[in-house]
């Protein structure tokens, strides 16, 4: 049992994975001596050596492309993309190679690989440092996509992702890295990786979130509770595959749902979640599933990013609108 930030929990999880399996390699820009710009790989190179914690040349396609080769040689590469906006030079390797090799080879070439991406905004950064690219990866068959939202999940999910035989895009809400601490019991059995979780119960409406917006939704639920309205909050945790049974159960009780993410609303995860809820809970819905997210503009300058990002007020506004039906 120890109290950790998300950053420390991820670091500890990576360390545990490297201790458990000598085939686990960490690779990326500045992951060595520096320990990554967010210090998630802090100390790993010192302890596991330069052969297992590899500073790469400055080329994301190169990182992912060589990781494919390492995986083919029996290694389990964990690639760090420095910031969400810099995953795109590697996009081709991810969607055309990483995602397709298992299928292409009829299962003969497994692709155990984790692509760690610090994602989302709210840290006052310049352009390209606050993107939410998850929908693009979730749309790509062959990839799995998960997002952690708290230190306990960070510690366990990164290990589960590394142990998985499939390639996983692992999203880390960078805004939370050094935010809240939590008790992490490193001995307790974790929840399964590909399962969503009800993080607060309620009956008035269902809030669906992942990564950074889980906290937003919990605060919104808190605020609503003070006005006597109990909102259920679900942390999706896994974006591909989606685990929506708990969501359907919830919506069948509440009749109303709001999906909240930082990504652009248009074709964001919310559109898929909304479409599936409507398919599965058609007769239970009292209102259309509403979506709250980043606007359909590029990410704005950071001084006004809090206007762009969904916050407590915008979530509650959507809840009001849903309840008004």
């Amino acid at each position: 049992m120890s109290t950790m930030t998300l950053a420390k929990a991820l670091n500890a999880g990576l360390r545990a994975a490297m201790e458990n399996d000598p085939k686990v390699l960490v690779m990326g820009e500045d992951v060595g001596k520096l320990g990554g710009v967010f210090r998630i790989t802090d100390g790993l190179q010192k302890d596991f050596g330069e052969d297992r914690v590899i500073d790469s040349p400055l080329a994301e396609s190169g990182i992912l492309g060589t990781a494919v080769g390492m995986a083919m040689r029996g290694y389990r590469p964990v690639c760090e993309i420095q910031f969400d906006g810099f995953v795109y030079p590697a996009y081709d390797q991810i969607v055309s190679q990483v995602a397709k090799l298992h299928f292409r080879s009829q299962g003969r070439v497994p692709m155990p690989m984790v692509i760690r991406i610090p994602f989302g905004g709210g840290i006052g950064a310049v352009e390209h440092h606050s993107e939410s690219p998850e929908a693009q990866f979730a749309h790509t068959p062959g990839l799995k996509v998960v997002a952690c939202s708290n230190p306990v999940d960070g510690y366990w999910m990164i290990q589960q992702a590394i142990a998985s035989p499939d390639p996983i895009v692992f999203l880390e809400p960078k805004r939370q890295y050094h935010a809240d601490k939590a008790e992490v019991d490193t001995t307790a059995a974790p929840d399964p990786l590909f399962a969503s979780r009800v993080v607060r119960s309620g009956d008035a409406a269902t809030l669906i979130a992942y990564g950074p917006t889980v906290k937003t939704c919990l605060s919104a639920a808190e605020a609503a509770a003070q006005e006597g309205r109990e909102l259920e909050v679900i942390d999706l945790r896994t974006l591909s595959p989606l685990d929506l049974d708990p969501v359907f159960d919830s919506v069948r009780r509440t009749g109303r749902a709001v999906v909240v993410h930082e990504a652009h609303v248009n074709l964001g995860m919310g559109s898929e979640v909304a479409a599936r809820i409507t398919e599965q809970c058609f007769y239970s819905l009292e209102a259309p599933v509403l979506r709250v997210g980043g606007f359909d503009t590029p990410y704005p300058p950071s001084r006004i990013e809090e206007d762009f990002l969904p916050d407590l007020d915008r979530v509650l506004d959507a809840v009001d609108r849903a309840l008004a039906y």
């Binding site: 790469s56 390797q93 190679q97 292409r104 080879s105």
Partner: protein
């Protein structure tokens, strides 16, 4: 106009005409020649003759695979075929230089190399027939699946070589352990970011990789000049490892150069770039029409440099092969043809229900459900039909 300072010309001079010449050991006329610094090591005279007869046989069979597949495409048995006509020496010379433990990353045209790695040529047809995306097991042959996205596989090769390094399988001096990785790509591919990044990574980590570029002068309709104004092998120099241009229509030179480069890799001396200077005698693929973009003259000139003919002349002139030898190979080629024709037609379509199970190593509930729905949907038709 301002005079251009000499410093630029000085550095230009370093590459204009510089670097080693085309490495050739067997002329188009079938004469054995020497090239400084390159030794053809095929054992004693008898062993060498045997090896060269082997190369000849490999090239003839490879060409037969190619012409047979082309014919199968014409007959509608394949959707498309990427012809290698003219590139037999480049592929057999390099393919035969490999040791079993070496690993190969091909493009979509390395049928000759596949054959060297013991892949049944029939297995190459599945992809072109449209029944699979590649049906051999890479691990069985140390031969990766064909890669269609231009250049992507060169990074895989470097990553694989990084794995080899981590396995301690470089520079041990153990012949059966030290491992090289051979990455194939075309002249067109040399322009891709990925290929250049593979040079960066390959050089940075000093990986046991050989970059084997078949410069067949064309990338579909675009001549090599669009990709590079200087000889391609010189690209390597700018990344800090050696580049060599070899006569890719000369199986002996290609073998010798590749063998040496692979050995450098195995010994831990880092990457080498080989430009196999050759020519795509056929169309880009069976759907291409090269008369739209190139003149016949070139083709005629290159016919005189045929990779197979020069070996035949050499063998005959030096009394190293008789009629029976050639006849036997013809027979073998005919059997290969028969094997492909019969086998290709027997390559059945996969069960569409199966695709859902191939996406992940660990199946997801979503896809399992999608599979069930689809199966039920198909069954509903069968019921109707019954």
């Amino acid at each position: 106009m301002t005079a251009v300072p000499d410093v630029f010309h000085a550095s230009q001079a370093a590459w204009h005409g510089g670097g080693p010449e085309l490495v050739q050991l067997l002329t188009p006329e079938g004469e054995r020649v020497e090239h400084p610094g390159i030794t053809l090591d095929l054992g004693d005279a008898a062993q060498e003759a045997e090896a060269i007869r082997g190369f000849y046989r490999d090239m003839v069979l490879t060409r037969r695979i190619d012409t047979e597949a082309t014919a199968l495409q014409r007959h509608g048995e394949l959707g498309i075929w990427a012809q290698l006509l003219g590139q037999e020496a480049a592929q057999i010379g390099s393919g035969r230089a490999l040791r079993p433990q070496d690993f190969v990353f091909p493009t979509y045209r390395e049928h000759g190399v596949a054959y060297c790695r013991g892949v049944d040529p029939l297995d190459l047809l599945g992809l072109f027939r449209g029944v699979d995306h590649g049906r051999w097991d890479p691990a069985d042959h140390n031969f990766g699946l064909y890669t269609i996205v231009i250049g992507a596989q060169t990074l895989h090769a470097v990553g694989y070589a990084m794995g080899v390094q981590r396995d301690g399988a470089v520079g041990t001096g153990d012949e059966d352990r030290d491992t090289a990785v051979l990455a194939y790509f075309g002249d067109g591919a040399s322009s891709q970011g990925d290929v250049n990044e593979s040079f960066v990574f390959g050089a940075s980590y000093h990986t046991p990789v050989v970059f084997f570029c078949q410069n067949n002068q064309w990338a579909i309709s675009e001549p090599i000049e669009r990709q590079s104004r200087i000889p391609l092998y010189q690209r390597a120099l700018g990344f800090g490892f050696p580049g060599v241009r070899v006569d890719g229509n000369d199986v002996l030179a290609t073998y010798a150069v590749t063998q040496a480069a692979l050995q450098r890799a195995r010994e831990g001396q880092g990457p080498t770039f080989i430009e196999a200077y050759t020519y795509r005698m056929g169309a880009h693929t069976t759907t291409d029409d090269p008369t739209r973009y190139r003149l016949n003259d070139d083709l005629e000139r290159w016919k005189l440099r045929d990779p197979i003919e020069r070996v035949r002349v050499y063998l005959v002139r030096n009394g190293l092969a008789d009629e029976a030898f050639f006849a036997e190979i013809e027979d073998e080629a005919a059997r290969m043809g028969e094997h492909l024709r019969a086998g290709c037609k027997a390559l059945g379509d996969p069960d569409p229900r199966g695709i859902f199970d191939l996406v992940y190593a660990e199946q997801t509930p979503e896809l399992a459900a999608q599979r069930d729905e689809f199966a039920a949907y198909l069954a509903s038709f069968e019921e109707v039909a019954r």
